[in-house]
Symmetry: C2
Subunit: 461 residues, 2 copies
Amino acid sequence: MSSKTNPARGMRDFLPADVRKRNYVINIIKEVYESYGFEPLETPAVENLETLMGKYGEEGNQLIFKILKRGEKLAQSAGSSPSERDESRILNELSDLALRYDLTVPLARVVANNKNELPKFFKRYQIQPVWRADRPARGRYREFYQCDVDAIGSTSMAVEGELISAVSVILKRLGFNDFVVRLNHRQVLADILDTAGVPSELHGDALVAIDKLDKIGPDGVASELATRGVSDKSATMLLEIFEHTQKIVSEGKDVNRTIVSNLINIVRDEVLTEIGQILRFAEGVPIQLDPSLARGLSYYTGAIIEVNVPDLPGSLAGGGRYDGLIGMFGKEQIPACGVSLGLERILVLMEERGMFPPEIAESIPADMMVTVWSEETIGESLKLANDLRGEGIRVIVYPQADKIDKQFKYAKQIGVPFYCELRETAGAFALKNMRTGERHELTAAAEVAAIVRQKDHKAEK
Amino acid sequence: MSSKTNPARGMRDFLPADVRKRNYVINIIKEVYESYGFEPLETPAVENLETLMGKYGEEGNQLIFKILKRGEKLAQSAGSSPSERDESRILNELSDLALRYDLTVPLARVVANNKNELPKFFKRYQIQPVWRADRPARGRYREFYQCDVDAIGSTSMAVEGELISAVSVILKRLGFNDFVVRLNHRQVLADILDTAGVPSELHGDALVAIDKLDKIGPDGVASELATRGVSDKSATMLLEIFEHTQKIVSEGKDVNRTIVSNLINIVRDEVLTEIGQILRFAEGVPIQLDPSLARGLSYYTGAIIEVNVPDLPGSLAGGGRYDGLIGMFGKEQIPACGVSLGLERILVLMEERGMFPPEIAESIPADMMVTVWSEETIGESLKLANDLRGEGIRVIVYPQADKIDKQFKYAKQIGVPFYCELRETAGAFALKNMRTGERHELTAAAEVAAIVRQKDHKAEK
């Protein structure tokens, strides 16, 4: 049993130092997406159960957190005989609501529900938590944030280009300089499978196997292909194609061009044209074609995108084009393409690599602390603090009369870069730079503000 | 039955225009709280059921959204005989988790759980949604945001002073200039009740009645006091005291001072000293003493605070000192004082009064839109857009080749203040100010950026 004061299993409290780091990353993500004209969307944490059930496969259904019916509704349901243990019946009798499981289904629902209010090309980003009743493990939580960005309504590769470019700008601004955007196209996979003689009803199975190439290697994939009913001949041909690509990558010269020219006889022209467009529209981004990239999701219809860094087994971001999904709640199909950033992984990596700027890494609660001389002069300390806030300085006032050495110790403990000691005489104070030890005897708030602003802790790093 | 694409009952989707307004208000709240050294805290949406049950009274227990157990756990529970309809047994058998109901219980849990990591004086703000299975009504939602700010660890009135001052700065920065902070003290109420001869075991009941003075008037309160067992003599005396205060307020001269001097014979000195300190420490804030303010909550131990504006029946913010609550999960009592801002009400009022700045009110998705001349030149449009983003301009690119008048119409529809038409000749474009109609023929991104930055839509208002 967990202690009574722990958060629920698989969930986390974010103390101020955590929130600062999370917000630092989230704010950069928002700023960049907004610079591309992506608009913010927020949906409720709670959805109708029927909105979510059946959208994430059988395993997904199990992992959805369901909410118990309330009051009378529950009494009625619980009064009938769930002892028959028909699971879906129990569920419908006891539950009518559920927690958001991802951000794509709510997006599809919102698009269907607001056809007339939303622009024809709806570019939205959404950064909100989702909940999954997964078994918690290292790095796997039951509440975690998704950062989705999707462009709806256009089939042009300009969309893919902008999405890749925006994700790349975000990662660069966060300080990543060793990421690679891997790019593939669902149709490349289909054409390769056709060429290798894999019958179309086995394409899905074959893709699941191919997707593991990185993890289990060619032999592993070969045996998995065999298990899944793909002939030896087809499997050998497939692996040859992918190994040839890897050889091109390892030679490292004109990689994308060479890969494309190798695919000319396998993949139909219009798909290669689309790939060429994406490469052109996302110019300047480190993109590498990877004809084996499948990302396990069957709903991709065009581009498939994944962003990797060398020291992370998983990906920092992933996505692609899914022209058949957004229409799930409506009558018409709506083209769409999107990318999801792995916020939790980005945070872990930035922590490991020490990538946060000093003020964030050190979790500084304010620019300075003002002391309190005595019970009678608390008002003077508060007044000075308010004057400084008026000058844009973030100020903590020690919240009660206390021995001055206790106040100084507290200032050191919370890590404020400046410490301002009020003297017995009204309007006299000593300002101390906690890093350099430099001291100033001052008499006006404006003087204090000038020094804090000028020689702030960042400038000294 | 609701349509399949609606959000769940009592919940809301926030489209981009809504999110912009909400974030505008939330960002100002955060900025001001941080200028006072309040630190951000976030807790999970989901808590252990036992953490929440019994903390909000019997009615609260009913309104908590409970989450169904998963998989095997559920099968075991549902297999036993909930048909016996013992409600709390059904609950424990079927549910182990629940949705956050407020931000105070999670704060108390976090404080108990992180005693050694948190500073002695923990000043935190928390802006997150909470969920209540209330019957939805106009302005009452099942998912809504709370904005709590609390200072933990000090009994000094400096805390009350800073909290009131911070809330006042926030409301002023949002544009409210007609709010009044009503202030009372739990001990003032207690001493008045003692003076009027209400026995202490009836204090709680009497406070519930007095709290309704604004709504049901003196006669209503008198009859409610009678129902609750307060003698006629005591009731008359109580109402005289409060009516006398209202007379002082209506005369409007030196109100707080006059009220205090009228309370000198009723309320003990140390309480009047505390009130005097709060008035002094929050200097400059429009505060009005109100000895009848009770806020219905039994857990207040000191100051009671409420912020009102004339055209709103409820309050914009409320709070007080509750020295007995934060210790609920630990062994020691921890002094605390906090205020909660009514975000949803603030938003409604700002909408009604037209208080949002133009860019927020008009929900502008970007500073400008760049057109696409043809399929072949999409790359040029994307390049220009990236150059402009590098200059800090937010740019939407029309996401596909299309007739130019359709592109112009789209720019008008989404409300971008500038429109940049790419010409057939590479590097030639026409920039149009959509408000003034002014046009410029330009050849460099820097020229475009300079005009957009200089004559931006805000400057023209």
